[in-house]
């Protein structure tokens, strides 16, 4: 007669639900750490590119035009702000979430669409992007109309930020601006990924502590 043990149900591979959950937590922690390290590396290369582009702009425009003494010390609203929220309705509700609000003087919808647009801008030189506005006019879908509406405010905000160096600046300075913008976005992603990683680490620690107590 077989004795069936109902207290410790086992799966086909011999693991309990608890063990599966623990493995999932560890995997989540390792995935988030891998993503964190990848983002750190990406930030480093983006910043290197940005600094070299800034040096190139200074070489092109002259030291008197790209200079720290031209930075604006008048009080003015920030072009970009960071929103910190708590994730609600989740088990790990203590985890903060960071959102970048770029070009804050534009509408919320526009700024969110502008973030999408800026990620496209990273891949294409600014001149080519501006030159292709005629191509945008030929498209009729509502999504493209919305992105067209976003283009002008976002471009205006970008030009406004650069205007401390003059209104007619070199494309190299605009490229440097895009690189540092991408670096800022990466920094926010790093903050979110770090928050996730620490949360996953806490989960793993809790499970390990629980195991020790059981023993």
């Amino acid at each position: 007669m077989e004795v069936v043990d109902h207290e410790t149900p086992s799966l086909e591979n011999g693991q309990t639900d608890k063990e599966v959950e623990e493995n999932a937590n560890v995997l989540q922690f390792m995935d988030s750490m891998d993503a964190y390290l990848t983002l750190i590396h990406s930030l480093s290369s983006t910043l290197r590119r940005g600094w070299l582009e800034l040096a190139s702009a200074r070489h092109s425009m002259g030291a008197s035009r790209v200079n720290t003494v031209l930075l604006d010390h008048t009080s003015h609203p920030a072009a970009t702000s960071l929103l910190v929220t708590q994730d609600e309705g989740k088990v790990d509700s203590g985890k903060p979430h960071f959102t970048l609000c770029k070009w804050a003087s534009s509408s919320n919808e526009n700024s969110l669409l502008g973030e999408k647009q800026s990620s496209q801008d990273k891949l294409h030189p600014q001149l080519r992007h501006r030159g292709s506005t005629e191509l945008y006019e030929e498209k009729t879908s509502s999504e493209n109309k919305a992105s067209r509406e976003v283009d002008d405010p976002v471009q205006k905000e970008r030009s406004k930020s650069l205007s401390m160096f003059g209104t007619l600046v070199s494309p190299k300075l605009r490229a440097a601006q895009l690189s540092f913008e991408a670096a800022l976005e990466t920094l926010v992603e790093i903050a979110n990924m770090r928050s996730e990683m620490l949360c996953a680490f806490d989960q793993v620690n809790m499970k390990l502590a629980g195991r020790k107590d059981e023993k």
């Binding site: 092109s60 031209l70 604006d72 001149l127 080519r128 030159g131 005629e134 003059g166």
Partner: protein, 351 residues
């Protein structure tokens, strides 16, 4: 009269022409640049530069060096050489030498006005001004609220006064007005310098016409490219182009309506000297355009030394030194940022 300079030039200009040709021999060579490009740190660069004419200017600088320090000290050398030539020069060479510095004067005026608009300290701004463009009342620029006051309070007693007639308004100074003022002043300065050289006549007029025409054309291209996608209208853009040069007037008409770099290429490739410049670039690319223009400029400046008894050698020497300082700035930035693979992106060899 052209062709007879050999009879009279050396009376007043012979000594200084010999001096400037001697200075030209001190420009860095390709071997010097190769050594500098292999430096690991800025102190290595200082060590290599100690064997050149820049040695005495850098020897007392403490470590760690900064890229701005190297540029400042190398610029000081240029300023010392210029001042020595200016104090030895008689008319009309002294006026010619002064004309060479008016561009820096315009840059300094715009720096002070822009910095003041941004509530920066005047002393801080004065430290960043180019030494070749300094004049006595430059600090008073910080007081002016609009261009009319700028002219009335300060610039009326400077060599830039005649260039202000086209941009005097009572509008308050803002970023766009300042940019238009900068380019309008520079346009007026180039045209005035061109007319002055034409008046001198002879080999000076011939050589300087070519060099200044190239400068005017390059400025037109840069204004066009930099204004794409900005609020500057086509009419305003056209007004910033100089009224001379190879591109005047038909090239300017085409450039004024360009909306991207490929249209600029289309307008410029109709002119053989610029076709060779744009042939080095791929379609849609503008990153290497600066270097292509600098290379062409250096070629023309070196050719100026092939002929004697004219003032073009002084202009050419000053410009070649400025190019050398730009090269040193770029190399030091690449070394400081550990990006030596990119060092040849912007270095223009002179010899």
């Amino acid at each position: 009269m052209y062709g007879f300079e050999a009879m009279t030039f050396n009376i007043h200009g012979g000594y200084l022409e010999a001096i400037v040709r001697g200075h030209r021999a001190g420009l860095l060579t390709a071997a010097d640049y190769n050594n500098l490009c292999q430096c690991e740190t800025l102190d290595d660069m200082k060590m290599h530069l100690s064997a050149t004419e820049y040695g005495p200017y850098l020897q007392n600088e403490p470590s760690p060096l900064h890229t701005t320090t190297i540029v400042e000290k190398c610029t000081l050398k240029l300023v010392d050489e210029y001042k020595h030539m200016l104090c030895q020069a008689t008319e009309p060479l002294s006026t010619f030498l002064e004309y060479i510095t008016y561009g820096h004067m315009i840059d300094n005026v715009v720096l002070i006005v822009t910095g003041t608009l941004h509530e920066r300290d005047v002393q801080e701004l004065l430290e960043k001004c180019h030494p070749l463009g300094m004049f006595d009342s430059i600090a008073t620029l910080a007081v002016a609220q609009n261009m009319r006051e700028l002219y009335r309070l300060v610039l009326v007693d400077t060599p830039l006064a005649p260039y202000f007639s086209e941009c005097i308004t009572s509008e308050d100074l803002d970023d766009m007005n300042i940019e238009i003022m900068r380019n309008t002043l520079y346009k007026a300065y180039l045209e005035d310098f061109y007319k002055f050289c034409q008046k001198l006549g002879g080999a000076t007029a011939e050589i300087m016409s070519d060099l200044l025409a190239f400068e005017a054309d390059r400025r037109a291209v840069n204004i066009t490219i930099n204004s794409i996608g900005t609020e500057l209208t086509r009419d305003d853009r056209r007004k910033l182009y100089s009224n001379f040069g190879l591109l005047y007037p038909y090239g300017h008409e085409e450039l004024a309506v360009c909306e991207d770099i490929d249209q600029v290429r289309g307008a410029m490739e109709k002119y053989p000297p610029y076709q060779s410049i744009f042939s080095k670039l791929s379609y849609g690319e503008s990153q290497m355009l600066d270097k292509a223009f600098y290379e062409e400029e250096v070629k023309r400046l070196c050719l100026a030394f092939e002929q004697q008894f004219h003032y073009g050698v002084f202009f050419a020497y000053m410009r070649l030194r400025e190019q050398e300082i730009r090269n040193l700035m770029w190399i030091s930035e690449c070394v400081a940022q550990n990006q030596k693979s990119r060092v040849h992106d912007s270095v223009v060899f002179i010899f």
